[in-house]
Symmetry: C2
Amino acid sequence: MVAKSQLKFIKSLHQKKYRNQHGLFLAEGVKFVGDLLKAGCDPRHLYSTEEMAGFPGAHPISESELNRVSTLVQPNKVLGVFPIPSQTPPQFSDWLLALDGVSDPGNLGTIIRLCDWFGIRHILCSPDTVDCYNPKVLMATMGSISRVQVHYAPLEEVLSQSGMPLFGASMEGEPLKEFVFPEEGIIVMGSESHGISSGVRNQLQRLLSIPSQAAHGAESLNVGTATAIVLYELRRGTP
Amino acid sequence: MVAKSQLKFIKSLHQKKYRNQHGLFLAEGVKFVGDLLKAGCDPRHLYSTEEMAGFPGAHPISESELNRVSTLVQPNKVLGVFPIPSQTPPQFSDWLLALDGVSDPGNLGTIIRLCDWFGIRHILCSPDTVDCYNPKVLMATMGSISRVQVHYAPLEEVLSQSGMPLFGASMEGEPLKEFVFPEEGIIVMGSESHGISSGVRNQLQRLLSIPSQAAHGAESLNVGTATAIVLYELRRGTP
């Protein structure tokens, strides 16, 4: 049995406003919570249903209580409230990814997972990019949020102060495969609807594109799949 | 004003069972319906709200009626009921993509859009792959469904009868970039949870992988982003 006030508190963390106010976020599911614990994250609260009664350190929560506070259609046995890690400055070495206004939670989650796969440790996000502790983002990261650092800051400023070579993905760019990537740099992906904002665009040295292979095909690629291809090419090296 | 029985009929098309029974699917949104009309699809029924009163050939539907039959959280002005195109046999030339049990509608939609971008005209789907006329699939295709043919058939049989070179994506494969793609073939992507089924796997000449660049990073890539990278490399050619 969990107190009503506590259920209300947990539910408030569905919203960015309360996540920021309390400095806490919600993690759900045996796998994801387990990943966070393994990564050394220290939960403020931890709950598990009877089915997962042995989950280390967890207090009991009933199925119906879990249903009330879960963000999932099918709640998954374990729920944790974790502190949002304190922001450390990004490290400007190797490659970083910057996101300029990516608004879809699924896209951001997919991109965090991709960065984890391709060894990109830092993502710089414009303030209007969706919150990385949004429950839908967290679900799509599949645990990668514990291994990739996501920084929110005014992008124009951070990019200009980074001292790194700056590139961006754009339909008007030169074909990705013809570009020789330097040792380090920052690559910017734009928003789903507007691409890269003009202030950021003006700072970029080169624009890179993923050419379509169909005369009358899709008008664009989704930002998640475009990022997949850009990071793949960035790490590909020449054969 | 739309008759109640008609609203009920439209709503029934949310379900695969009724889509197949009537041979019809639901398309929503000004852009998507417009794309289908442009592609020469002939709607069985077409509705638009007052705001889109001039939409060619559309009957009026009120906002509240549209809300009742829409699959969208925010219904979008125009709704059409279209015949599911009759299946023609796939053309075994150039490259085809095969999907073995992809179950997430967003993933299938993303993959159809990718095929449209990379000029892949035919997708072969195992019968347990999610229905391509599922409304969530259609939304994610962004109109590409009108340009890519999706065929459902027992995969083992179709692949063995295709006479084409067969490849698959798998974590255990050789690195994608080291592989020289032949002129034509079929590449198989497995399901989100189980990968490629053993019967299909046994027919494949080679397995290809997208190597991770992080020692302790993400455990896998999403099938949508993996397909993006595979199709990109397939069409990339050597520099």
